[in-house]
Each structure stands twice: as structure tokens, then as C-alpha cells.
Symmetry: C2
Subunit: 334 residues, 2 copies
Amino acid sequence: MPRLVDVAEAAQVSVATVSRALNNSRSVDPVLADRVRAAAAKLRYQPNAIARNLRRRGTRVWALVITNINNPFYTALARGVEEAASELGFSVLLYNTEEDEARERRYLDVAAQERVAGAVVVPRANNSEVSSLLAAGIPVVVVDRRLDRGGDFVTAASFEGAVTATEHLLHEQWRRPACISRPADTPTAEQRRQGYQAVVDRHGLPSVVCQIPFHAEEGVAMVDELLDGQEPPDSFLTVDSMLALVVLHALRHRRLRTGRDVGLISFDDAAWAQAVEPPLSVVAQPAYEIGVAAARLLSERICGSFDETGPRTVTMSTTLIVRGSSRRPPSSHG
Amino acid sequence: MPRLVDVAEAAQVSVATVSRALNNSRSVDPVLADRVRAAAAKLRYQPNAIARNLRRRGTRVWALVITNINNPFYTALARGVEEAASELGFSVLLYNTEEDEARERRYLDVAAQERVAGAVVVPRANNSEVSSLLAAGIPVVVVDRRLDRGGDFVTAASFEGAVTATEHLLHEQWRRPACISRPADTPTAEQRRQGYQAVVDRHGLPSVVCQIPFHAEEGVAMVDELLDGQEPPDSFLTVDSMLALVVLHALRHRRLRTGRDVGLISFDDAAWAQAVEPPLSVVAQPAYEIGVAAARLLSERICGSFDETGPRTVTMSTTLIVRGSSRRPPSSHG
DNA sequence: TTGTATGCGTTATCAA
DNA sequence: TTGATAACGCATACAA
């Protein structure tokens, strides 16, 4: 690969002039600049980012650490981050932790070693450690799941969304809603569970919570168990779209239909939500916008415009979208 | 951030020894090595990958260029690439082109400038240019969509998969299958269309092809138009799962039911395929495995073990999974 | 405005 | 086995 010196030689100028011309920094004679650009083009010169980074003491790369790339919520978020990053001139390193602590730790260390300019992180749990980044002076924007000690934070209003969803179920006259959630150390899932709990408590209804591990094959079996219980739930709030699929699967086995025999509402407006019959009611999160917002905060921190500002929190509101799956037909009341 | 010299000072040795101890290269006195490791730990030393890369003249980073991160097929593929890369000690830069030529070009240039060790690329079209990478001596593994001039290539058997799917539709006694595809410069979509075409041609049936742009809002309208035609199709083969959603949407409007009024089979076994009623028949592609295979080829090229070997092609076979949506009930024959 | 020369933090070569 | 030192390719301070 051609280097700056090669371009300099071809253009009959010094490396400094080439550097200046190519980075259009300061004043450089238009004639020389043209000669340099021509030479660079002819040689197909691509600046060496490694050397540039070393000299500038910083990369143009962000780390994006997510827990599950198969979850459409996170891919939408990733799209937002990547798009915003790209517009700001940053590349994005993708790290998929698969909800695994060891992997998360390793990835955060690697990101620190790569000297990323900043990181957007969905922590596995609320006690995850982003200190290797912070200690290196690398700004971190925590996303989706709150962190005990982190930097800026962007999330959706999980508690409120769950409250709205649960109240909606009750309003539809369902009387035994269950909450299908995730392990209790998953901040967002836990907040949604609490929102659900607050509502059923207030109505003096029993709380039925099922916490399904992320990698569980037995998710369907766990819901089955619930349905086999003495007083099975008559409706469900699932805290992510993959759990909605689990519930739908369990219901199908028993020929139970949503929007008639049981109620169902889920977090996340998945692409398929309107393809099932009846269409799935959801609490939609602005996943893409969350990603973009995180990117904005990160870029501000990197520019140093908010050096003295403490951690900022951006909470996006969720949207209740009532479709068919949560409705209770009049005939089945009581 | 502490540097090698800081560790050296703390451990009372030279930088060379620190470097050797930390990279456990060559022989270094166990006592000194311990002292070095202790000092490094105490200082929370994180090696500076930028400097290391400059010195070693190469990064431990791959570029992954995909066209649409919202397509579950590509996220599954990305997961495969990322996971394999991580095991091999590489980080992955994610570039999402959104099927946009200019973005693709820009991303490939940036990747070249970042001096990635290799790239896994889903080209937008068959005339996409990966030359900026190849010219830089960066190995490229092309994935999913064939490229006129590229490196190694990993894909699924699109033509054959489409043949199988179309034959299945005919076997179920559907008589006017349509192919819902993508613009003709999308290699994989085009191969699937050709597979479909080969079968209908052989049976003397009319070919009904609808090419829906990637970002089209009017997808549903285009399918509507098909259904409004003089002799509307009685069944559909969609070349990706997002098109299946489009068709399902159009059918719902007309209260047409798959597996009864019309037949439907789609490429890609999306997570929701079994959640619709009836469950969706699909031609499954091993997306994750394609990603892993691409990673393997790339790593072999990087190691230089296949320097003299010409471009290799790996074709994974697809799997026909017949569920309910493609069935034609006996009552509706003829 | 241009050129020379230095240093960014490592690794690797070479001599001790 | 260890240490001093020279690159790696670029950006910039400084001198011209």
C-alpha cells in the first residue's frame, strides 16, 4: 500500500504538504494541493488509520456492546447507533455478549485495548463492570438496562409501559394477568415486572410471574406449567417479543386463541406483530431512536462539550398499540 | 492510561522485557515475568492496540458489510461471523449499507483505511466493487450474493431451493404460483426467481414475477395489484421473510387464508414462522453456519494457508420445511 | 506557505 | 536471558 512518502515523491513535495493537502488543513497552495490530490488518486492512496490514530492519540471507532443480536429490539437499536456513528465519521465495533458475563468482561477489555473513542453498552446485569473503559477515560453511554455505576443512560419507560399494558389488560376485563419476564438481575425486565406488579397489587389481584432464562429451551414448558396450575392466568404480559413467541407457542398447543380465550400483550413492536391472528397488541419502544439518542450523547461526551456535566438520563416513552390479541370479547366475560 | 514504560519502571525492567513477558514470547525469567505481570495488574495496564497494530503492520479487526441489519437472515449471519471472529481473537466492525451503493463504496474505503485484517461482505449488487480492499491485499469473503469479481464465496443454494419450493407448490396442486422477488440486480433474489421460472416453464405454466424494491412502502400495493389482475396467482414464493410479511399483509386485507385459499412459502425460517396461522412453510437457509463458514475461509486466507489457491466457493444446501401455509386442502382442488 | 524533524507506544533486531 | 534502539506511517511544532 502506498504511503504518504510515496504520494509526496510522486507530487514532488514534502510529506507535510501532502498531509496538509489531504486533510485540507491550514493554507496550502492550490496548485500543490491539486498535484497532491492527483498523485494520491493515481496511487490509490488510502490513509493509514493506524498510524493516524497513533499520532492523534485516538481512534474514530465506537464499540457497541449488545446482549443478543437476534432480538429485533437490539438490531433496531444497533441500526440507529451505526447510522448516527457513520454520519459522524465513526465506525462501529459490534460485540454480542449473548448475555454472558465472561464474554461481556472480555469484550469491554478488548474495546479498551482497541482504544475506542466511545462505547454504547447494553449491560448484561445491573452490576456489570464498565470500569475498564471509564478508567481509560473512554465515554460510555449505557442503553436499555440501567447500570449501578455507568455513564449517560438512554432507555424507554419500562415501568410505566408495563403499568399501561397491565391496566389495559384489566380494562379489557381480564382478571388473572401473568407477567412473563426474564431473570431478576435484568434491569429492564425487572422494572417491567414491577410495573405489572404495582397494578395487580393495587387491584388486589394475585401476581403471577414467570422468569424465563434467556437461553432456555424450556420456555414453552414453563408457560405450560403456568397453564396447568390450579388457577391458570387468563392473560399475559411478555417483556420482550421473543417471549411473546414462546407464549404463542404454548397457547397453540392447547388451541387457546388470543383475543378470545386468553389475552396477550407484549413489549416491542416486532415486524411480525401484525402477521399473527389476531394481530399482537404491544408496548412499542422507539428502538431506533434510542440508538440515535445514545449516539448523540456519546458524540457530545467525545467532543468534551459536557465534561463537567454529571451522568444524564434520557427516558423515551413507550406507545401502547392495541390490536386484537389483548381484547376480551363480551361473550366471555365473567 | 499507563504505557509499557510505566510498567517497566514499576517492575524495574526494560520495556523489551515487559513486552516479552506480556506476550509470553521467547524465554523470560519466571521471576521477572511475575514481577511484570504484577506491575501490569497493579497499574491496570491495557496494551495499546493502536501502537501494536502500527508496529505489527496489521490489525485484529474484521469488517462485516451487510445490506440490511433488520433482516433476520443477516443478523443470524452476523452472529455467526462475530462469534467465530471472537474465538479467533478478532473484533468485528459492522457496516450496514441499507442497500445503498454510495454507502457501500464509502464503507469499503473506510474499512481499507482502517486496515482491517479481512472482510466479510454481502455486496449490494453483482457489480459492487471490493477492489479497494483487494488492492490493499485485504482478503475478502463474499457472502450470500455472488460478485462478478470477488474472493471466496459462501452462499446457500438459491436456485435449487427455489426449484424445490416451486415444485412443492405445484405438488400441492397450486396452479398459478407467483414469485415475489427483489430487483433483478440482487444476485440471490434473481437466482431464486430463475429457479421458480425454470419450474413453471417446465410445466407450461405462466410465470408471474413481482420485484419489490427494498425500501418500498408500496410492497403491499404491488401484491394487491397482482391479486387484482385478470388471472391472479393462487400461491406465492417469497424470496425473503420480509416479503412473506408483505404478502401476509396483502392477504389479510382480502380475508384470504394461506393453506386454504392461497398457498405461501418463503425463503428463510424466521423466528415467527410458526406463530402465524397456519404456520409458514419455508426454505430454510443455514444463516448462522454461513457466517461461521465465511469466518473460517477468511481466517485461512489471513493465515496465508491458501495463498496460491484460487477463489473457493462454499454452497450450503437449503432445507424445505413444509408447514401449513403451502398446503392445499383437497376440497379446493381443480 | 513549505520543509525538517520529532514523537505517538509497540515490537523486534541486535549486541551484550 | 536482557536491554538499548530502530522502525511502523502519520501529524504537527518549529524553523525557514
